[in-house]
């Protein structure tokens, strides 16, 4: 906006303003009614949905599902949408930081005098696109199922080895599902793609022994299953059996 446009805006605004009504009581009445609606919504949600607590935080467990509040889903989903490893740092912080800066600076790069949304096609389209993208990512975040289940067909090779082996495989599937692996790994369509590698075909690359070794002595953020191996070797064995059949 140049000086002339600024002055014109201020003149027109004064005209519209002086044709308006006083803030009290007209706007105050609307605001108060809205405040009642907000209050009613909060009270209803509290009564209907409650405020349940989960089990107490336990830094030594591995059975956890790290899940943020729903309005952070879109940020976490962003990490998963961008696949190539080189781009991950960009996704985690680059995109949100850039969006934040763009948001702060909006009044400085969009300086046109036009205010009607239908005559600012770029701004309006961008706004609608951002809202749609955030909605979509939030939906995907909510969708990414309760990561305590692994729905995959049992491989024929497993069934062929008899009912006993199949039972072991199924037990292993259950242990893996309950151990929070899916927070960071993907099994078929289940679980989250990252930060850990996909495990859908892990046995193609890693032999049984190597899988067991990784569980006991994993790389940095992954928790170790050494305690499980010592306390409950049968469970640990089932876990390794399941993983070593993922081909």
């Amino acid at each position: 906006m140049n000086q002339r446009e600024k002055e014109q805006y201020l003149r027109e605004y004064m005209a519209l303003k002086s044709a308006g009504k006083p803030f009290f009581p007209y706007a105050v009445a609307k605001d108060s009614l809205m405040a009642c609606v907000v209050m009613a919504a909060i009270i209803t949600m509290s009564l209907v949905l409650g405020a349940e607590l989960g089990p107490k935080a336990d830094p030594t467990t591995t059975t956890y599902t790290p899940r943020p509040e729903w309005y952070f889903f879109f940020l976490f989903e962003l990490l998963r949408v961008i696949k190539p490893a080189e781009l991950v740092p960009l996704a985690t912080i680059g995109v949100p930081t850039i969006c934040m800066i763009l948001l702060f600076l909006l009044p400085f790069y969009d300086r046109g005098p036009e205010r009607r949304p239908e005559r600012r096609p770029i701004a309006t389209a961008t706004g609608i696109f951002v809202i749609a993208a955030m909605g979509f990512l939030t939906y995907k975040g909510a969708e990414s199922g309760p990561p305590t289940q692994i729905d995959m067909p049992t491989p024929k090779a497993v069934i062929a080895q008899g009912p006993q082996f199949t039972a072991l495989y199924e037990k292993g599937r259950q242990v893996v599902a309950q151990s929070g692996c899916e927070a960071c790994h993907k099994f078929g369509d289940n679980g989250n793609d990252g930060p850990g590698p996909q495990l859908t075909h892990i046995a193609k690359n890693l032999p049984r022994q190597a899988i067991a070794r990784t569980l006991v002595n994993p790389t940095a953020p992954m928790p170790s299953f050494q305690a499980l191996q010592q306390k409950d070797p049968a469970k640990f064995n089932a876990m390794v059996t399941f993983l070593s059949q993922l081909k």
């Binding site: 006083p22 706007a27 605001d31 009270i43 790290p66 927070a183």
Partner: protein, 269 residues
Amino acid sequence: MPKLKLPAPPLPPGFPKPAPKRPGTPKQKPLDVAAEAGMSVVDWVDERTSLSGGARWMMFRKVPKGTNWFYTLGSATMFAFLSQAVTGVFLAMYYRPDAGGGAYESMRHVNDDVFLGEFVHGMHKWGSSVMVILIFLHMARTFFFGAYKYPRELNWIIGVALLILTMAMSFTGYLLPFDQRSYWATIVGVNINGTGPLVGPYLSDFLRAGPEFGATTLSRFYAIHMMLIPGIIGALIGFHLYLVAKLGTTAPPWQKLPEQYRQVEEERA
């Protein structure tokens, strides 16, 4: 006799004005006496502070023609924030920021034993969602109405700061109940934060109070959540509202100019 007069309420068009009081009918009813007593108190304060000018400036400014329900979203956000502040104070009366044993138990106690405890806890928990929804709606309104343009740029910038602070409130508050979900989500969140450029690692160390998630992490989150950020948000809302009153709220972009002004503008062009 007080100097201040009660402002006359605006009357709907076509409504007859009440006749002015005639001298010689001074018979004061109890209601008049009560009104007068209230006025003298206000008058006493005003004589020493001159606050009435500011209040009048704030309350009796005009809002432009065409102002609609979308313009209530800002004050609704503020109301959600106030609700969070009040319910938060009640939760703070019971909460113990002790990771070793106490934080989780104190919230259990609130939920299970305290009168209306779970209700207030629930209001605080769901109030945060309501506030986040409202702040995004308010932002969308100001965006699509072009309200961030001259002369309201600074108010947009303060708004973005408020948005970030509100999200930071959610992030720090999420850890406090100290159940499995909040604990592990916060660890992951802080780690992701740490991959950020330049300040990322320092910010993460600051949040954790060290390189590892430790005993002081929880009290640090608590202090940030209930003292640091709410203070800044309160101050920024004050400044935001001052600018709203000073600059006036925008008219909806479709609003037509009154006829006589349109002619003046056309002559000018």
